[in-house]
């Protein structure tokens, strides 16, 4: 097992270097000069441009800038934002809990609905229930996020008034930032009603963000279950007279789950890397919106640093998925 983990870990270092090189190069390949963007219509004189370039270190050759950047990263310094002047790491840590909170809730929503729906569809294959689940999940999968979010918002927030429109908490509550996770911070605070407010603010964004993963999980679970249900050992189990629910849950599901876990892992990675549209629509202060704005402003340190951290997180999530695989299915760890 340790050898397996070590093998996986050794791949992380070249991946990490590749990412630093890629983000550093790509953001500089996009046309657009951060100093011009900052100056806007007013423009900036050639001397001032040169002065600011020198101040920000852009006058150095690219390879020098790259080695400086990697040197900084190795010492834990991702640099400061060109716009806000704050350390990139600090900004990331401020915004990341919001993304994690939303991702967890969206993932819970996706798993809680997607998994049972997929199982039911497989068990009731060919029935109206199966068709409905599949149609529903296909619709969910192809739903334009922006439109879906606005639709839910207009129905549930504006017309019915059941949920708040956007944000993380009602403005009447003044919650101190302790952990950055609103659900925890509201519990720590003594403001009555703030926890309920935080929960209600999470409902719509979680549904919107969780819709696509839910559809993916439902479809994956269904096809994987169908494959397992047609195996000989299931027929044997049934022939032995084991209760149908036991066959499905214990015998079939456990094996059918392996590809589903991969999919869940990948989906969580995607969600964490920034649910850009959902965060923008619901004014959710997460990292997706932060990164997109930084690309627009050509805020090099934020783009480089932010993408690097997100990529590392995805690497770690994938690594954990691989390890979970090994635990769930011993054949995998032994075959490598």
């Amino acid at each position: 097992m340790f050898q397996f983990i070590f093998r996986r870990l050794s791949l992380v270092i070249p991946t990490f270097l590749g990412i630093t090189l890629l983000t550093f190069t790509l953001i500089r390949l996009i046309p657009g000069d951060p100093i011009e963007v900052m100056a806007g219509e007013r423009g900036v004189s050639a001397e001032r441009h040169a002065l600011l370039s020198a101040q920000l270190g852009f006058d150095k050759p690219l390879y020098v800038q790259y080695f400086r950047y990697v040197g900084g990263v190795l010492q834990g310094d991702l640099g400061n934002s060109l716009i806000t002047k704050e350390p990139v790491m600090k900004e990331f840590l401020t915004l990341f809990p919001a993304t994690v909170e939303l991702t967890i809730c969206a993932a819970i929503f996706a798993i809680l609905i997607g998994l049972p729906a997929g199982i039911f569809a497989a068990v009731k294959r060919g029935t109206i229930l199966d068709h409905s689940v599949m149609t529903f999940s296909l619709t969910g999968y192809s739903m334009p996020i922006f439109w879906w979010a606005l639709l839910l918002m207009l129905v549930f927030s504006v017309t019915l008034g059941w949920t708040p429109v956007s944000g993380r908490i009602d403005v009447v509550y003044w919650i101190d930032d302790v952990t950055g996770f609103m659900l925890i911070d509201t519990l720590l605070s003594d403001e009555a009603g703030s926890f309920t407010s935080a929960v209600s603010h999470l409902i719509l964004p979680s549904i919107v963000l969780g819709t696509i993963p839910m559809a993916v999980i439902a479809r994956m679970t269904r096809s994987s279950m169908l494959e397992v249900l047609s195996e000989d050992y299931i027929r044997t189990a049934r022939a032995k007279g084991i209760a149908p629910w036991r066959v499905i849950i214990i015998h079939a599901l456990r094996n059918a789950l392996i590809p589903v876990i991969t999919v869940i892992g990948l989906q969580v990675g995607i969600l964490l890397s920034g649910a850009i549209l959902t965060e923008t629509v619901f004014a959710w202060p997460g990292i997706g919106k932060w990164l997109i704005e930084s690309i627009g402003r050509r805020d090099y340190p934020v783009v480089q640093g932010g993408i690097l951290i997100v990529a590392c997180i995805i690497i770690i999530v994938n690594l954990l998925v691989d390890i979970t695989y090994g635990i769930v299915n011993p054949r995998i760890r032994h075959s490598r």
């Binding site: 046309p31 900052m38 920000l56 708040p164």
Partner: protein, 530 residues
């Protein structure tokens, strides 16, 4: 047990009293369109940042009278100008208090040291704070304040003198701009001693009507009314900026009562907003201009007849209807009509393709020519859809034989290339900074600005001399005459096609009282009640 039970209703009563008193405080929620870039307005040029900082947290020596572009005394009670126009002496207000923050409590009132510090930091390259936070002082440099100011002298605790290198009438208006916000020198010294000078730009104290309590990036900013504000406490107790980047979502929040004031509505929503009984849709002509600039250094636009011809060939009304959807007015001058010295008597080029063809023939292009129209990739108040605008113009021009290709670049690239004169014609615009005509005419069309913000590369001696004259005198009547004449020259020489001044709309909840639209584009909440 009995005692505990008896205490329960009391505890509940106390709890409800606390809740009621906390919630009875009036809170005004402003759904802002983005996060501020930082909390030192001197570093930035974006209105979003100014709303969150200078407009509500700080004061300046001079202030804009709310709802106008005129200036009035702020932290200065009055000022004197020397006969040669080179010395401005400001008499400062007494008894003005600074806010306090978690880490800093001021021990003294505002005085001349604070004024000298706030300007010297930006002006003096050797000032210990000059390079803190990598400060780039965009506006201070953009307004050429560095070259203009020769010295800043503290005469006594409540008198400060600015010595200028040349007479410059717009100087007073410049001092009312956001970059001229007054910081506390006492806080700066305290932080420098502590070894954390950059904190001054993250958590500064000001003298304005609201003090910042909490900022959660991309989420919200909370302020409380400053009870010792020198003009008296604001009418609301708390002010919250709920950061909501999407205009449709801001509107949904306004409808649901989650915000009281919202900026920048979608033009498509205006009709519905106007008929909503809970919403008061306020509007005012913006202090801006959207235009098409000709590169006057490139043939055939070196010929004034070609520039005039394309002015005749452009149907502005069709553009306003299609691009602004009613939220714009045709522009005939480079100055917006709300600006003093706007020349009402100018007659615009009417839409007249026949006359256009005739002028083109006279200029030696009877069959037209090929050119390009550059369209900005971003939305701006003065031009909500540059691509669409360029396409309409392309169609108009083709009727007189001019074949134009529509070109676009990424925004930074667009700005840098138009500055270098790579475009034949380009769409752009301007939003006024300080309500002074100089801020439009000299910045956009002055000879000094060629290669910078004068992207038409147009330098006309007659026009430029009129602007220089107007800079030298502080007599407003005389300046008005100069600017009016300059607008005549501009129209005749046609370096631009002036297209539109947009109308600014601000929907607010009906229960909000006292809100005024600022023609300079800011959002002030001092006079607002609920």
């Amino acid at each position: 047990m009995k005692n505990k039970l008896a205490a329960l209703p009391l505890a509940l009563l106390a709890a409800s009293a606390i809740t009621t008193s906390a919630h009875a405080a009036t809170t005004l929620v402003y759904c802002s369109e983005g996060s501020p870039e930082g909390f030192n307005p001197a570093f930035y040029t974006a209105g979003t940042t100014f709303d969150a900082t200078s407009k509500n947290m700080f004061n300046r020596l001079m202030e804009f009278t709310l709802g106008t572009t005129e200036t009035e005394p702020g932290l200065a009670t009055s000022y004197d100008v020397s006969a040669d126009g080179l010395e401005y002496t400001f008499h400062l207000r007494k008894g003005v208090k600074f806010h306090s923050s978690k880490s800093f409590k001021p021990t003294r009132d505002f005085n001349a040291d604070d004024v000298v510090f706030s300007f010297a930091r930006q002006w003096d390259k050797k000032h210990p704070y000059h390079t803190v936070s990598n400060g780039s002082y965009e506006y201070f440099n953009g307004m050429s304040m560095g070259d203009l100011i020769k010295d800043i002298v503290k005469v006594d605790d409540y008198t400060v003198k600015f010595v200028l290198s040349k007479p410059e009438a717009p100087f007073i208006a410049n001092l009312a701009m956001d970059f001229a916000s007054i910081f506390s020198k006492e806080q700066a010294d305290y932080l420098m001693k502590k070894g954390t000078p950059e904190q001054l730009d993250i958590d500064p104290v000001g003298t304005g009507p609201f003090q910042k309590v909490q900022y959660q990036k991309d989420s919200l900013i909370r302020y409380t009314a400053f009870k010792d504000y020198w003009k008296g406490k604001a009418k609301v107790d708390r002010l919250v900026f709920s950061i909501t980047p999407d205009a449709s979502v801001r509107y949904a929040k306004l409808k649901a009562g989650e915000c009281d004031v919202m900026p920048y509505p979608n033009p498509a929503d205006l009709k519905q907003m106007a008929s909503d009984p809970n919403i008061n849709l306020m509007s005012q002509e913006g202090l801006n201009v959207g235009y098409l600039g000709f590169n006057t250094k490139k043939a055939p636009f070196t010929d004034v007849r070609v520039r005039q011809a394309l002015n005749y060939a452009t149907d502005k009304k069709a553009i306003i209807d299609a691009v602004f959807q009613g939220a714009g007015k045709e522009a005939k001058n480079p100055l917006p009509p709300t600006m003093w010295s706007y020349n009402k008597d100018i007659v615009d080029y009417p839409y007249d393709p026949v006359k256009a063809k005739k002028l083109l023939a006279e200029a030696g292009y009877p069959d037209g020519f090929s050119t390009n129209i550059w369209a900005m990739p971003v939305q701006r108040p003065y031009n909500p859809n540059a691509r669409r605008m360029a396409e309409i113009m392309q169609e108009d021009w083709s009727k007189v034989g001019v074949k134009a290709e529509v070109v676009s670049y990424e925004w930074g690239e667009y700005l840098s290339r138009t500055k270098k004169g790579e475009a034949d014609t380009f769409l752009l615009g301007w939003t006024g900074d300080n309500g002074d005509p100089d801020n439009f005419l000299y910045v956009l069309l002055g000879c000094d600005a060629v290669g910078g913000s004068n992207r038409a590369q147009w330098c006309n001696e007659e026009f430029n001399n009129l602007l220089l004259d107007a800079k030298r005198t502080s007599d407003k009547a005389e300046r008005t005459k100069d600017y009016e004449k300059a607008q005549v020259v501009f129209k005749r020489e046609a370096p631009w096609i002036t297209i539109a001044h947009s109308v600014v709309y601000e929907p607010i909840r009906k229960e909000v009282k006292g809100y005024k639209i600022d023609p300079l584009g800011g959002h002030y909440f001092y006079n607002v009640s609920k």
